[in-house]
Symmetry: C2
Subunit: 143 residues, 2 copies
DNA sequence: TATTGTTATACTCTATAACTATA
DNA sequence: TATAGTTATAGAGTATAACAATA
């Protein structure tokens, strides 16, 4: 079948929420790629940053701050410990505190650097007055 | 263990991309809930809207417009046909065209109505000049 | 050779329910 | 009773590789 002569009409492009989602997806993919060179996911780097700013924080508190369910924090925290980036100590009988190791602190600082570079790349596309929809679209259509 | 006296520090709140992601997630959850009463997912409703605006469009073309991989369009299109919302006709030996049934058109119109109501709810939070980070945060902190 | 649709598969993220041990 | 951590599980969404039929 011949290719359609005209580009498809996409009524969703009228919706700001659609562009918000596409822009968020494009930015997440870019950030994930930057962090992959540090061998951490976006979720892992986010947790490292929160622990770094709040030493001896509990898993549940991290989850509350980042909207990650307690159940989903378990393999995340386990992975960070397995990688030697985080140590866990008993706070009382039922709760544990997480703190960065020296390797974890170094990696967290590198991750923050990646995040700053990532943001510096996208901030100009988000800035300025008005035209939010167009600016969000520019993010997910940029190659 | 006693609750932390002060709220956690979250350095990610300095990042616009973080708020973009949280805002996108909050809006997607809201839209999904609105569409659930029509028994369609956000992806299904999106496909219905694109088919409605482009009768006799192929799966591959829809996928290109919505950034959905061909392989992932298969169960999506199958589900819409199973629900009687879409019919498929052979265009040539290898490509098929999708068109809304009458039920599909009715549901698509209801979905668009839900999307407009959804957007009307969030647009005021996104509007105005400057303070984008704060506006995005307002979206994901609103209950 | 390239494209369409398909199957199979896998990984991530997210979600709930239920259990334990502790407060 | 409520909370912290855990286990198991399930559903989305997304990704790749490979194949058959067809252009």
């Amino acid at each position: 079948m011949a290719a359609r002569a005209e580009p498809l009409k996409n009524p969703l492009e009228e919706r700001v929420g659609y562009h918000l989602r596409r822009a968020s997806g494009a930015m997440m993919a870019d950030l994930a790629q930057r962090l992959a060179s540090l061998d951490v996911t976006v979720a892992e780097a986010s947790v490292l940053v929160v622990i770094g700013a709040n030493p001896a924080v509990s898993q549940t508190e991290i989850g509350r701050a980042l909207a990650i369910k307690r159940a989903n924090m378990v393999p995340l925290a386990a992975g960070l410990m397995r990688k030697g980036l985080v140590v866990r100590k008993a706070a009382d009988g039922r709760s544990h505190t997480l703190t960065l190791t020296e390797a974890g602190r170094r990696l967290m600082l590198k991750a923050e650097k990646s995040m700053r570079a990532h943001e510096a790349h996208y901030l100009p596309l988000l800035g300025g007055d008005g035209g939010l929809r167009e600016r969000l679209k520019a993010i997910w259509t940029a190659r």
